[in-house]
């Protein structure tokens, strides 16, 4: 799959940045979207040095859904056409806070699920019409089964995964690859507060995996790959047993 002209939403996130490095090294043109202008500039300069043929930035809070069209139009206008889109923004909300606050729970859904679904609705039509390209979204293994320790986050990612599943079937007929990325535990600023056990992988490893999955147009990529097995086992545990586990 050609990944010459790519839009990256949430471009300052650790995993997206690592994937972008792979693209930059191959001379891609990158349109970086993020909330923080200073961070965007830092990442843009880095990717330029690493070999990106062209880097454009666009400051956007993805929860400002009304501006999605403007952002996407700007990307198409800048590059002429697009080969790929990587959506990588997200927050790891505090499960306990969500349990105590409807507002907090809905905010998680807004950022991790609704903003993604809104953007996908928009760009799906562009790629469908174009008849090629790759849409990749960072979902999570947390979306595979609801667990007491983070089911709000899990539910937002689960919604995204299901949406992508349907979208994949719709766009496959038009030659567009839809890639669901399901990283396991990754050592990033988002997880800085968590204790790092053996199951943690580096953002670099996962980011490279994202790039490869996009290149190959894989339907669902667990990153690193062993998470596919881990999640298979977790999904197979009967509900009555699962209730008693503290996961």
């Amino acid at each position: 799959m050609v990944l010459q002209k790519v839009v990256i939403v949430g471009a300052t996130s650790a995993i997206a940045y690592e994937a972008a490095k792979c693209m930059a090294a191959r001379g891609a043109e990158l349109f970086l979207v993020g909330r923080n202008p200073a961070k965007l500039e830092t990442v843009a300069a880095d990717l330029q040095v690493r070999g990106a043929q062209r880097v454009e930035t666009f400051v956007l809070d993805v929860n400002d859904v009304a501006r999605h069209q403007e952002m996407f139009d700007a990307a198409v206008a800048a590059f002429g056409w697009l080969d790929g889109l990587l959506i990588a923004h997200g927050t790891l909300g505090d499960q306990r806070k969500c349990e105590l606050s409807v507002e907090e729970t809905l905010r998680e859904f807004q950022t991790n699920a609704l903003s993604v679904i809104a953007l996908l609705t928009l760009v799906a039509n562009y790629f469908e019409q174009r008849g090629r390209g790759c849409i990749a979204v960072l979902s999570s293994v947390a979306g595979d089964r609801g667990r007491p320790s983070n089911y709000v986050y899990g539910a937002t990612k689960g919604a995204v995964s299901i949406f992508l599943q349907g979208l994949r079937a719709r766009l496959a007929k038009h030659g567009v690859a839809v890639v669901t990325i399901k990283p396991g535990l990754v050592d990033t600023p988002m997880t800085a507060h968590l204790r790092k056990g053996l199951l943690f992988s580096s953002a670099r490893r996962v980011g490279r995996g994202v790039y490869r999955a996009m290149q190959q147009g894989r339907p669902v990529a667990y990153l690193p790959g062993y998470w596919r097995l881990v999640m298979l086992i977790i999904r197979l545990i009967p509900e009555r047993v699962f209730q008693r586990l503290s996961l």
Binding site: N36, K39, A45, D46, V49, R50, P189, L194, R195, K196
Partner: protein
């Protein structure tokens, strides 16, 4: 905070001490407020310093391995600017395909740029190019009072000179800019020469230092008598032919040492490696080869975590320099003592430093002979031997390398680094390291100054 990050260790895995907390730094525009963080503070990159100069027991460690972005690369001038946590490995991956090389390469590429400055590292081309600090054009320093200062030979010069080789004690380096070196391809024309004595080593240096960019020798530490100092001399230059520019580099799978090995394995391993090499070259005294740059500069990098070969007790590295005028005799004496003790690793690295001056106040390299070798940690016995060697180094007017040290004495540090008092004027009062506290230096002038205030 400590629980979420791996505990910082040094390469020699001695001493084993814990900081009170580890603060990862991700963005230059989102720096922690150093004024409110509990001190003492110290930056930590990849833990490639051998002893305790990168450790901060009960203090706050600022982990910079996420500050890993490039800022700018002027491919015409060969000027690179990057954040302090970028490793030399990452720089090489970027610049080598574009025809540039590091101005100075240490023995491993897994060090950070910040660490390369703080230790003012050197390499096989010291006699030509000096230290890494000689090629730094400027950097940005964050002080604990929140100030961010650009330091260069013309701006904040005192801080510039104190920070190069300053062991991370002048503040947190955020990014740095330095000059690169032009190359035609990633290959090295290497010559390996077997030599039989220290005299012959000196002759080879004299013969090679003019025409060869890179020179170094591996010394057989078990040899004694007339064979004392025998070993293999390696010299090389960057290959110039356009043919090699088209050749792709071989990619090797990295080997790793996954667990701590019992301590006796290492000498057996190196012994075998050396003997094989020595026996092979027995047939020919000189071997000429064109080799990729990686095995030439970083032979041990292909075995990840080789420090685990020394087992859980860790190890020391002893690196000293002795000035030319006495260098020869003193080095002989040092080698004899090591050989007699039977404690050193089988292999040592010997190199003649040149007289290119570094701007760094506490820079270690100086004209003379430098020797570096590993010692398994055998407790008091090993420490006693070091004290003996220290005496020889001290009398010759030489020095020890803090980046490799876990046991030198503060009194000796003052002799080895006579500009330490000048250095202390630029130190950041909130920064310190386990090494620095061990040195426990008290400047005479400053004491009287505080009385006046």
């Amino acid at each position: 905070m400590l629980s979420t990050q791996a505990i910082p260790q040094s390469w020699g895995r001695y001493p084993r001490v814990k900081p009170a907390r580890v603060i990862p730094i991700y963005w230059r525009d989102q720096l922690p407020d150093l004024r409110t963080l509990p001190g003492p503070l110290l930056a930590y990159g990849y833990g490639r310093s051998y002893g305790d100069s990168c450790l901060n027991e009960n203090g706050t460690v600022l982990a910079v391995s996420h500050l890993r972005r490039f800022l700018a690369f002027d491919e015409e001038q060969g000027l690179l600017r990057c954040e302090a946590g970028v490793s030399l490995a990452e720089i090489l991956d970027l610049i080598v395909p574009r025809g540039w090389f590091l101005p100075v390469s240490p023995g491993t590429k897994f060090v950070s740029v910040g660490g390369a400055i703080a230790n003012d590292i050197h390499g096989k081309n010291h006699h030509k190019a000096g230290t890494f600090g000689c090629h730094i054009t400027r950097f940005e320093l964050l002080r604990s009072n929140g100030e961010r200062l650009i330091c260069s030979p013309t701006e904040n010069r005192e801080l510039f000179e104190a920070t190069i080789g300053g062991l991370g004690l002048t503040g947190l380096i955020l990014w740095a800019e330095f000059r690169l070196k032009r190359i035609h391809n990633p290959y090295i024309d290497m010559e390996r020469i077997r030599y039989d004595s220290l005299e012959e080593f000196m002759e080879l240096c004299a013969e090679s230092d003019e025409q060869y960019e890179y020179t170094v020798a591996w010394v057989d530490c078990l040899a004694s008598g007339s064979k004392l100092g025998r070993g293999i001399f390696m010299r090389g230059n960057h290959n110039q032919s356009p043919e090699y520019a088209r050749k792709s580099l071989p990619r090797k799978l990295p080997l790793a040492v996954p667990v701590d090995l019992p301590s006796f394995t290492l000498n057996t391993l190196t012994l075998k490696a050396f003997n094989t090499l020595y026996d092979h070259s027995q047939l020919q005294k000189r071997v000429f080869k064109v080799v990729p740059y990686e095995p030439f500069f970083y032979p041990l990098d292909s075995i990840h975590d080789w420090n685990r070969m020394y087992g859980p007790r860790g190890f020391f590295q002893y690196q000293c320099v002795v000035p030319y005028d006495q260098g020869y005799d003193v080095m002989k004496e040092i080698l004899q003592r090591i050989s007699r003790s039977g404690q050193g690793s089988f292999l040592a690295v010997l190199k003649k430093f040149g007289d290119v001056r570094s701007p760094g106040l506490l820079s270690f390299p100086r004209p003379g002979l430098t020797l570096a070798l590993d010692f398994a940690n055998q407790g008091p016995k090993t420490l006693r031997l070091f004290d003996e060697l220290d005496a020889l180094v001290r009398e010759s007017g030489g020095a020890l390398y803090p980046a490799k040290d876990a046991r030198m004495h503060g009194e000796d540090f003052k002799r080895f680094f006579p500009r330490w008092e000048e250095f202390m004027r630029s130190i950041d009062p909130k920064f310190s390291s386990s090494f620095w506290r061990r040195m426990a230096l008290v400047p005479s002038r400053e004491q009287s100054a505080t009385v006046e205030v």
